[in-house]
Every structure is written in C-alpha cells, then in structure tokens.
C-alpha cells in the first residue's frame, strides 16, 4: 500500500507536466514515504478530440451553470467513475488532490463526494484554488467548505512540502486545516521534483521537445500596485543558481530533457543567483563538450537597468540558453508604470530589448489596459511606443503580446487594500470592489466601456503592426461575457463561487 496518491484534476494547462504534484512526490519520497502522481486532468482533456466537446467539457469545469450535452456529461461521468475505481484499486493511505486554481474546484468537489462514499483512506486537498478570488485572498472558502461538510480530512494552505510530511507523520501542523501557514525560507533544502509518473504523458508542449517546469523562487522583489502576490508570499525566497543548475542537469541525465520553463514570478529577482545559474550551465557545457545554448530555459523576467544587468550578463544568459521570456511590461506609458510601481523606465526597457535583439533572446509582453490613472494621452503613448517597437516584432525579438482582459482589481493587491486612497469604488452601492467592476473617482472618464474600447483599439493596432497577439479571441469573448454580467448586475463575488 502506497502512502500517498497525488492527483491533478481539471482544469489546468496541458502544455507541460504540472510542477506541484511532481515536486511534492520528490519531497515526500525524500522523507521515506511512497508516492504516485496521476495527471487525471491530462487523461481526460487529452482524450477529447472534438473541439466543441472540448469547449463544453472545459466550460463545465470552469464556468458556473455552463451548458452541457448528454454526450459530454457521459464522458465526464465515466471519467469520475474510472478515476474513483483507479484510486480504490491503488488503495493509497492518503489521496491528495491538487486544487491548482479555483477552476479545479468543480472537479475536486465532485471527486471528493464520490470518493467519500467508497474510500476509507484520508483525503487531502491543497493549492491556490482553496481560495476563489486569487491566491492572496484571506477567504479560504473552498477548503473550509469541504472540511466542514466532511468531504475532506485535511486542507493544506500555503506551501505543501512541509505540511504534507506533517500530515503523513503526525496529522497536524502549520497550514493544515488552518490558515497559519509558515513560508519555507530554505528552498535549497527541498528535494528535486520527481517526474517519473508523468514524463510518459504526451503533453501539448509549445515547442517540439519535452519541456519540464522548474521553480526557482517564490514571491517577488517588486511590489506592483495591481498584484496580489505579496499577500500570499510574504517574503521573496529563492534557490541558489547552483542548486537550480544541478536540478536541470539531473533532469537531463535522467530524462534527456533539455528544455525548461521556470514557473517563478521572475527568474532574475536575485541577480547573484541568476548569474550563478548561467555560469554553472556554461561550465557544465564546457566540461562536457556541449555547445552553447545546449539547454533552453525561460520564464518571467523583470526589466533591469544597465547598472543591474550589464551586456556581459546578457551574453552569459544567452550562452546558457535563456530564451522565451515573459515580461510584465503592463503599460508603455512611463507615467502609468510609475503609478503601478513597476520600477523601470523607458530607457531601461529600450536597453533590455536591444540586449535581447543583440543576443537572440526573444520575449513576450504582458500588458494591462485601463489602469485607474490611465488617461487618453497615456493610452496613445502606449500605442506610439508599440509602433516604435514594431521592429522587434518584425524580427521576432518580441514574439508575442498578451493584452489580458483589462485591469482586474484582485483582493490582496495594494489597489484593493488601499482602494479608498486610489479613489476606486464598485460601480453600484452595496457591492464589493471586485474584478472588472470598478470606477475611479479620480478618473471618471475611465469607465469599463472606455477600458474595453482601449483594449480593442490596441489589439487592432498590434495586429496591423505585425505583433502576435496571444489569446485575444478567448479574452475578448470573456470580456464581453463579464461586461454583460455587470450590466445585468450578476457579476458578484458570490456568483462565481461554485458552492
């Protein structure tokens, strides 16, 4: 009998193996317990080849009261039955369900309900999806709800590495059935993830090769006003570059994987560690007669000044294989970025892009349209700057732009916490400040409709200029749906809960 079976449930991405469950497997095994991982999300969603069925089934998991067909309902019912039967057959002492986001709540709730009737082991749930409105919210609505209704034995808040061991050993600890989780500060002490159970799955990798996720840090060194990350990760913690390089090398030696995607909020948060990583990788290539860029690795990047990251740093980063960076640029108006506390100037961005171009590193812009202080002139400035940067899209230095769904006010972010200071309020009385439904007393012309129209204008310009705009169709459809719900007065926090 194994100690723990970890399960991924819909709906999460199919583009590479989920990082969390394999990391927990490594940690649990390091402590002498046995553990298997089953990616039930992938098994279900990958099996659906018809695009309409795929949309119906993913909508079932992610959108309240979504339309359902008999055919798709049968597919889902069969999947639940087979999954429960599998668990009974393996018969682990504990089943751990990864609630990666609130979009995993529907599957988790139903699976727990079915399991409870027939399974005698302990049921654990954990993940950021225990909260419905962002990782930072203090409303642990989902975990508490399932615990109170006795559908689960434990929920785990915060990081799972220590908490899971505590459950397996003593059934109690920080962050177990309570919100008093303690952040792990020594990430180097954790075991490497063990991908043995999931490497066989044919994930929908965005490149032609197998790509594995790596987590090198938690939290962020910046405090952007719209971001809720600090409410969850109080401190910025990071692994040494040497430790990260060793993990990458171990995956190469074990699985022959050479492509890695860093799941961090930023891969250049600690510059000492960043430099150490590039140097360790280059040394490994040289010692083993491997060419430059033998590994390929990327993740989220913050813009740095020339003083912080010199041209020599970019040369090393490119040699070590860094590529495919997602940058939270948010706005191309310097004033708006100052308001956001983004911490970089236009000059810094120009420098970064030119270094990327010189060294063949490509990047992806993450944008936010409609920040509360955004005036028409700032919007035009962003459009002009995108026109100025067009050359980077033409030669592939900027390989894509994600415009998002206009600014959402997330609980835990400074904008939410200090909403009075920022002059933000819900559009009608007696409603919580939440998501897209806000106005600014200081900038009353920036209505939701204005923000949406700016978002549409920007996408049109970018497409004309030759930028690849990612995920626009989906975002615009969702934006329209949210707008309609706001109009109908059904866009409230309580309405998106699945309970």
């Amino acid at each position: 009998m194994i100690d723990l079976l970890l399960i991924n449930v819909p709906r999460i991405s199919l583009v590479y193996p989920p990082a969390g469950t394999s990391l927990l497997k490594g940690v649990v095994e390091q402590q002498g317990f046995t553990c298997n991982v089953k990616d039930a999300n992938f098994e279900l969603l990958d099996s659906i080849k018809d695009s309409d069925d795929f949309e119906t089934i993913t909508n079932y998991f992610t959108i309240p009261n979504a339309e359902m067909t008999t055919h798709c309902q049968n597919i889902i019912d069969d999947w639940y039955v087979n999954l429960v039967n599998y668990i009974l057959q393996v018969n682990p002492k504990h089943v751990g369900i990864s609630v990666f986001t609130f979009e995993c709540q529907v599957a988790t709730r139903e699976l727990c309900k079915l399991l409870r009737k027939v399974y005698n082991g302990k049921i654990i749930i954990g993940g950021a999806g225990l909260s419905t409105t962002g990782i930072a919210t203090q409303i642990n609505d989902f975990g508490n709800n399932l615990l109170e209704s006795k559908q689960v034995d434990y929920y785990v808040r915060g990081e799972g590495e220590h908490a899971l061991i505590d459950i397996l050993k003593e059934n109690t600890g920080d962050g177990i059935n309570n919100d008093n989780y303690v952040q792990i500060t020594d990430l180097d002490s954790l075991a490497y993830p063990n991908y043995d159970d999931v490497i066989k799955y044919k994930y929908h990798y965005t490149i032609d090769n197998i790509q594995l996720p790596i987590t090198t840090s938690r939290g962020c060194v910046r405090r952007c006003s719209f971001c809720d990350i600090h409410a969850f990760w109080k401190k910025y913690t990071f692994r040494s570059g040497e430790n990260v390089a060793k993990e990458m090398i171990s995956h190469y030696e074990k699985y022959k994987v050479r492509d890695f995607f860093f799941t961090d909020s930023l891969i250049n948060g600690n510059l000492k560690s960043f430099r150490q990583l590039t140097e360790c990788l280059i040394s490994y290539y040289q010692e083993n007669n491997l060419p430059d860029k033998f590994f390929s690795w990327g993740g989220q990047w913050i813009v740095r000044t020339e003083k912080q990251l010199s041209p020599a740093d970019y040369i090393n980063a490119a040699k070590s294989g860094m590529n495919g960076l997602a940058m939270g640029v948010e706005s191309l108006s310097e004033q708006i970025r100052i308001d956001m506390k983004k911490g970089f100037t236009n000059q810094d961005l120009d420098y970064t892009l030119e270094q990327f171009r010189l060294h063949g590193i490509n990047c992806y812009f993450l944008m936010i349209v409609g920040y509360p202080t955004e005036q028409e002139e700032h919007h035009l400035e962003t459009m002009q700057m995108f026109t100025k940067y067009q050359g980077y899209a033409i030669d592939g230095t900027i390989f894509g732009v994600n415009l998002g769904g206009t600014l959402s006010i997330d609980e835990g972010s400074p904008l939410h916490k200090d909403s009075i200071h920022f002059g933000l309020e819900p559009t009608s009385e007696n409603e919580e400040l939440f998501g897209l439904d806000w106005t600014s007393k200081e900038n009353p012309k920036l209505t939701l409709l204005q923000r949406i129209n700016r978002r549409l204008d920007l996408q049109e310009l970018l497409m004309d200029l030759g930028y690849r705009v990612y995920n626009g169709d989906h975002q615009l459809k969702r934006l329209k749906a949210s707008y309609e719900r706001i109009k109908q007065n059904t866009y409230h926090f309580k309405d998106i809960l699945h309970s």
Partner: protein, 169 residues
C-alpha cells in the same frame, strides 16, 4: 492596415568601398524610382527615411555610377548589410538582382545575390507592401499561433461591433 502607410521607415545601408584613387566611388539610392540619396562612398553606411506605400511593390535600388572602366579598374562598392527600422535584413539582403552597365558590344547580364558592384550598375531589391510584414515573412519569423491561443480579426470585429452600440450607464 491604415496605420502602416502613415509611419515613415528608416533604411540604413552598410557598405565597404575601394580606396581613394581618382576620387571615391559615387553612389545613389532610389526608393520607388525616386532618388533618396546621392553620395561619395567614403564612409561605412548611408541612412535615409521613406514613406512606405500601403500596397503593391516597393523597389530599392543602389546604383554605382561615374566609374571610368578604362582608368579606374579598382573602384567598387560592396553592400554588406541593410537594416530597416533597425531590423537586420539578414537573408533578404541576398534576395536581390544586380544589373551591371556593359559596353554596347558586350553581352548584357544580370546576377542574383551579388552585392559587389565593380561595374557601373545597380542592385535591385523588391518588397511587397506593407513592407515590414513582408520582411517579417521573409525573415521566417513565426506568426502562427498555438490552437486555442489565436487572435483573429473576425472575433475582434465582432466584439468591436458589439461594443460600438454600447453606452456608459
């Protein structure tokens, strides 16, 4: 595409040249058959700005002229690089045709991808408009999107149409 033909583009041509013997090589550059530069080739680069057309084809011509083929055997210029809006044209540089001026009694000839102008003559590059999108395509920069990640004009226009009829509450 309306925005694309309103933004000037900057071209920079990098070259090498023969040394000063009986004067520097003489060059001129034509964009869509209009002269945009006329210079002594005594430096390393020449830069100019043009307004692109929204459709059709645009032509860039670099011409070497004024060489006395009897007395100035060594005079030449060679194009070694080109950038449009700071985008290196890489492979596109070689996608060109050279037309040397030959004596009437010699057979005329042309050559693809020869950037060395030892004769009087010119090199022609052709671009489809909008030029920057043509360059993007010819540089083989990936523009396709993974399934489910697309942004299409169809959906954009549908959503624009919907919101065009909306008014603030």
């Amino acid at each position: 595409m309306s925005v694309l033909n309103k933004i000037p583009i900057t071209l920079k041509i990098y070259y090498t040249h023969s040394s000063h013997t009986n004067g520097w090589p003489l060059c001129r550059v034509l964009w869509d058959n209009k002269q945009v530069a006329n210079f002594k080739a005594d430096g390393q680069e020449i830069e100019f700005t043009v307004l692109p057309k929204s459709q059709g084809t645009s032509t860039l011509i670099v011409e070497h002229y004024g060489k006395n083929v009897y007395t100035e055997h060594d005079k030449f210029i060679e194009i070694i690089g080109m950038r449009i809006n700071n985008i290196a044209l890489k492979n596109i540089l070689w996608e060109s045709t050279q037309y040397p001026i030959t004596a009437p009694w010699d057979e005329s000839w042309q050559e693809e991808g020869n950037l060395y102008l030892g004769h009087n003559g010119h090199i022609v590059w052709k671009f489809k408009n909008p030029i920057l999108l043509d360059i993007q395509k010819r540089l083989k920069v990936r523009t396709d999107m993974q399934e489910g990640q697309e942004s299409t004009k169809k959906v954009l226009n549908e959503i624009k149409e919907y919101f065009a009829n909306e008014k603030d509450r």
